[in-house]
């Protein structure tokens, strides 16, 4: 049967970077094709070419055997190609229906008529099992639901080819399962799907074939059924990848972090963390597991001084820091790899060198009597770039904005570890990263533990928690469900606890 989409020998350059070099992919009718590659491998560029956002330097695109030119997304839409971007394009104070019809609004005599549209959306939603309320406002629905609105946008426009750019990056584990189900429904109804991803587990679960790209070049296309995760990882990274981190012997020392009956409120002034108690000792990694939005963010913000504490106490090395400023906590040897690297972790318009001294620019040797010492700042930047393998266009002078997500994260991890903290708080340290970077950052965290530091790991990825932690604290609705030994537990037990079930907890 004829492929729905063929992209033949696509070449796309940006100044200094060859993003796609002679890449060829084909998408068959009714299949799910995974596009696998590390951050910056050129997956998104290739899909942007197909969606008409970029023009390729050479190569041809065929839709149903016909050679086409796609100068802009409108043409892509006319050809039946739709895309769900990683960051949704929705108007938050509009309803679902209003968002979906945006650009092709049905009117009668110049007046908007949404009733029919709303009915069509309700029907589509039912047909594909999306369960979306057409009259809800975007700001009132969850992230998972917003993604479904994006899917409905494509269906409403009768798209046959659906492109998903990292669709699971923003979803909770439950939402991921539901998305998989939806994608199977779409497939069953005859839609053809391309998923950009670097999560091997999800490829195994949903895709039929997998095309691997590395540094802009095509590595190959394999049948998912006949290929193991390890094989795909190797194709993607170009070397063997170990999924398991080797840890040294478990030798916990003195208690570094003591949290006693900590209560914190969220932005809406409602209790987010309720009488939470937890210890972290030197030389151990304590993982905090929980479904997103169960108080983890508020917990970390309270620990790092970004959010006021309602009641309770936080002690580091026996010293009370409950009401200390962020600065005082940094001075008390608490380092923090933040949840959102672009919002908190980096000043994107600063260079790498400037970002490396975000916390200690006021100290010798980086400044003397209020004047910055560029030589020392650049020397440190070059050292950290080398030590933490941060790759960028112009080294220390590169703007942080221009780095790939993985390299931004490596820079933050490097900076925080280099502060030589007693307590390292790592929040979602590998969110959105490819396996190569994940492996690297995991190694670094375990190194800290083995070097006798206390590490608090907060993550939504259960695999990560189970892999790295010595002890696991499970949080649900802001309460501590229990603390378990990582060796004597598994995904199922933790999963139950994450849902708030306290029975069978082995302390």
């Amino acid at each position: 049967m004829q492929p729905v989409v063929e992209m033949l020998n696509i070449r796309k350059e940006f100044p200094g970077i060859l993003a796609n070099d002679n890449v060829t992919i084909t998408l068959n009718h009714g299949e799910v094709l995974a596009l696998l590659g590390e951050n910056g491998a050129g997956k998104s560029t290739l899909m942007s070419v197909l969606f008409g956002l970029y023009q390729p330097e050479s190569g041809t695109i065929k839709v149903k055997g016909q050679e086409v030119k796609i100068p802009n997304p409108n043409v892509a839409g006319e050809l039946g190609i739709g895309m769900v971007h990683q960051h949704f394009k929705l108007v938050h104070n509009f309803t679902v229906t209003e968002n979906i019809v945006l650009g092709i609004e049905p009117t009668r005599g110049g007046v908007l008529t949404l009733k029919q549209a709303s009915e069509k959306i309700r029907q589509l939603s039912k047909q594909y099992g999306l369960d979306v309320d057409p009259d809800a406002k975007i700001e009132d629905v969850s992230v998972g639901m917003q993604q479904r609105v994006e899917i409905l946008k494509m269906l409403y426009r009768n798209s046959e080819v659906l492109i998903f750019d990292e669709p699971t990056a923003v979803l909770t584990p439950q939402e991921i399962l539901e998305l998989m189900k939806i994608m199977r429904n779409l497939q069953a109804e005859g839609k053809s799907i391309i998923v950009i991803t670097h999560k091997l587990k999800e490829i195994k679960a949903i895709a039929d074939r997998c095309t691997v790209i590395r540094r802009g070049k095509l590595v190959g296309t394999v049948s998912v059924k006949d290929t193991s995760q390890a094989q795909m990882a190797e194709m993607m990274v170009g070397r063997e990848v170990s999924f398991h981190v080797d840890k040294g012997p478990f030798n916990p020392g003195a208690t570094v972090l003591q949290v006693n009956n900590l209560s914190v409120r969220n932005n809406r002034k409602l209790p987010a963390l309720k009488s939470f108690t937890l210890d972290v000792r030197a030389g151990e990694i304590v993982g905090v597991a929980g479904v997103e939005g169960n108080g983890q963010t508020e917990f970390v913000e309270a620990l790092t001084g970004l959010r006021p504490v309602d009641s309770g106490h936080i002690l580091v090395n026996g010293n009370e820091i409950t009401r200390a400023t962020v600065r005082q906590r940094i001075d008390a040897k608490v380092a923090h790899i933040p949840e959102d690297r672009q919002k908190r972790g980096l000043v994107l318009d600063y260079t790498l060198a400037e970002n490396f001294v975000l916390e200690n620019h006021g100290l010798e040797p980086f400044s003397t009597k209020g004047f910055l010492n560029q030589d020392a700042i650049y020397a440190q930047a070059n050292r950290l770039i080398e030590a933490f393998d941060v790759r960028s266009g112009e080294g220390a002078k590169s703007k942080a904005r221009g780095l790939s997500g993985g390299n931004q994260q490596k820079a933050i991890v490097g900076r925080e570890i280099d502060l030589n903290p007693d307590l390292l708080i790592a929040v979602q340290p590998t969110r959105g990263l490819d396996v190569g970077s994940i492996e690297y950052i995991h190694k670094r965290l375990v190194e800290q533990r083995d070097a006798g530091k206390a590490v608090l790991l907060v993550s939504l990825e259960l695999d990560e928690i189970l892999d790295l932690s010595d002890r696991i604290a499970v949080v649900c609705r802001g309460e501590l469900v229990g603390v378990v030994d990582a060796k004597s537990t598994d995904e199922n037990k933790i999963g139950l606890m994450m849902a708030g079930v306290k029975t069978g907890v082995a302390e």
Binding site: L306, V326, R327, R329, G345, L346, V347, D349, Y350, F371
Partner: protein
């Protein structure tokens, strides 16, 4: 970094050239010869020492208000209140100049310090409002402009009335930034020691922004206040500090206008240097050296337009129109940048693999 500076200079110059071309078009459309027009416009700004001196005198307060706006911009704040801050700076300078009798060498520093403090106070308040109550500085600085306006409106006739109801008395020579040395050197023009003040300010602002811990923190707060907060930088204190510094610069600008360029204060006018400062900063891409260049350029246009009008039939408003057009091109500098990018790619892209 070097490339970046070059690119911004290029964009600024392109905006100027496009603005001048548009001006030529206006002249041609109104039936005048653009070449003679521009000849007299630039001759009017530069043809002899006196006119050159007037151009520099015109540019002096613009350099300071331009710096004020650029400094605030660089730290993420939009100081639209340079007019009010300059007015207060001028009012304080005039008040001291008319009441305190001291030798020039002591009086002038006192006047400048007081004017800077006055301007700083006028911007400090919006800074506090922003830091404590999240009041947007655009709104509060505009309001402060009108408070400054009416305060001057009341104060000048009440305490410092001159020969007219609407004007202050003339300040003494001791209180004026004008000095015989400069006046004679530039053949009796308005040029004054404010020029040195503004040049020192360009130097200091450039140092603070690029080389100091304070500048690093101010810019970090401006670029990303969440990251600054994360790094233990006191965000609120730096917002207030940034506004106060911007206000001090505008206050100095006011002093160089009212006790330098002029010798008395009129009521009922918000000085145009405040809003022109925004244009200067915009054309300069908020770089201190760029502010110097673009303020001098605006100074040439301002002081040359009268001469152009006298020598040809071109109305002086064409000068303002050219300035306005240049600002439009500077404001849409993104387009110019994109144009350059596509140009360099087409030229250099083929050779590079």
């Amino acid at each position: 970094m070097k490339f970046l500076v070059k690119k911004e200079v290029l964009v600024g110059l392109t905006a100027v050239v496009l603005g001048l071309l548009a001006g030529a078009l206006f002249m041609a459309v109104t039936g005048n010869n653009p070449f003679t027009g521009y000849f007299y416009l630039f001759a009017g700004g530069m043809m002899n020492l006196e006119r050159l001196g007037n151009t520099l005198a015109m540019a002096t307060p613009l350099i300071l208000t331009g710096l004020s706006v650029a400094f605030a911009f660089r730290t993420g704040l939009f100081n639209i209140g340079a007019a009010g801050q300059a007015l207060i700076g001028g009012l304080v300078a005039t008040a001291i100049g008319l009441t305190v009798g001291l030798p020039k060498a002591i009086l002038l520093p006192l006047i400048l310090i007081a004017a800077a403090l006055g301007g700083a106070l006028w911007a400090w308040l919006p800074g506090i409002l922003k830091a404590k109550f999240n009041v947007h500085e655009v709104v509060s600085t505009i309001m402060m402009n009108w408070i400054a306006y009416w305060l001057t409106y009341y104060t000048i006739p009440a305490f410092f009335k001159g020969s007219f109801e609407t004007e202050s008395r003339l300040i003494s020579d001791a209180a004026s930034l004008k000095t015989p040395f400069l006046t004679e050197l530039f053949a009796g023009s308005y040029i004054n020691m404010g020029l040195f003040v503004s040049l020192v300010a360009v130097f200091l602002v450039s140092i603070v922004l690029n080389r100091t811990v304070l500048g690093y923190r101010l810019k970090a707060v401006g670029y990303n206040r969440f990251a600054a907060e994360y790094a233990g930088i006191n965000v609120n204190r730096h917002i207030v500090a940034s506004m106060a510094i911007a206000g001090a610069l505008a206050g100095l600008g006011g002093a160089t206008l009212y006790v330098g360029y002029a010798s008395s204060m009129q009521i009922g006018i918000l000085p145009s240097i405040g809003f022109d400062g925004i244009a200067v900063a915009l054309l300069a891409s908020n770089s201190p050296l760029g502010v110097l260049g673009s303020a001098v350029f605006f100074g040439i246009l301002q002081s040359g337009k009268g001469f152009m009008n006298a020598m040809t039939k071109i109305p002086p408003e064409i000068g303002d129109t050219i300035i306005a057009t240049i600002i439009y091109f500077a404001a849409t500098s993104v387009l110019i940048e994109r144009w350059f990018a596509s140009f360099t790619k087409r030229k250099g892209g083929k050779s590079r693999v």
